[in-house]
Symmetry: C2
Subunit: 192 residues, 2 copies
Amino acid sequence: MKSQRAELVADTAIALLADRGMRGLTHRAVDEAAGLPPGSTSNLARTRSALLELTLARLTQLESATFAPILESPAADLVGVLAEMTAQALWAQLTVGRRQAVARYELALEATRRPELRRIYDRAGARFRDPAVAILSAAGSSDPVRHGRQIVAFSEGVIFDAVIGAGADPTLDDLRLGIGELLRGMLGREDA
Amino acid sequence: MKSQRAELVADTAIALLADRGMRGLTHRAVDEAAGLPPGSTSNLARTRSALLELTLARLTQLESATFAPILESPAADLVGVLAEMTAQALWAQLTVGRRQAVARYELALEATRRPELRRIYDRAGARFRDPAVAILSAAGSSDPVRHGRQIVAFSEGVIFDAVIGAGADPTLDDLRLGIGELLRGMLGREDA
DNA sequence: TCTCCTTTACTACGGATGTAGTGGACATTA
DNA sequence: TAATGTCCACTACATCCGTAGTAAAGGAGA
């Protein structure tokens, strides 16, 4: 992030987005919530679009930081590792990353209508899909690309359902089970 | 819906929500988009909360109408029917129901912060989960409740990914394949 | 020390937004 | 026909929003 101030503004924007939604994110609200003098946010990110870009950029940076330790892992038993990686990633979103997840969904919806956001969003998405596709391919998947998308979609759905939807979070073991079942279904009667 | 006018207002609100997001849905915007004299929407739904409730109620009604023919189907081969039902439902969301899906996500996010919306949303969700759980149970699932949630989560994820996320919609056959794989994974090496 | 340039604080403004009030049109019933 | 109650058109108002302009502050380089 360019400056410490920009970081503070972006982090506050994420919190605001999670707590009050798109309509709650305004230049003035950020100033107030961050304890900055009025006008600061407006000055740092002149337009609303600039504020959203800054926020999404920071969010993807934060999520990368969360997932980095998960993505680097001993690649012994391929499919097993993929399953455990995914379970851990989901678990992170369901616990420490809940508010980030909500903010992410708010921005994803907005990206539907703002190409400048979509670009950032897409770039970040590839960082998860690509390794999954690679592993699936190495594990003998009959259709690695489709399967990769499927794992991502499944993950997104689990998070959305738990964080935005009905409630009643799955346990970490539930996640392991579910992903195992999906992988087994995709790869035949494999281990996992 | 109470009156023809309320229906028009709600339908317009859904379109607005899909096209312009939460910040685009205002009393005045509905008036304008629906071709109603200024003040009409404000008069019908005094508060913003009332407008959102009206909109979500209409949306669930519309979605029920879409899914009703799918949910009523010959219950011969249990699992096969569940798979085809789900595939058809997803396909509907990806084609004719795209904008409704976007509006639904906007409202789901908002329901995070508005209990009056959450109630409507939850009630509607059960209408899909419950039949799925019943069928899974009858098909010998080892954990029908978890599996039911899992199918719903998977479906939600597929729709979200296609409509909000990266793009590149799956084909109807892709959907059939994917759901088949998930079901096979959950139920052992069954048919499907 | 003086100068230049970036960052920050503050203020202004046109416009939009949620909500409420009021009077009239209309139809239904007695 | 007269009375009554519901729906609708219109207006008003306080608040909030995005954006821009400008001046002060602070630090880097000479």
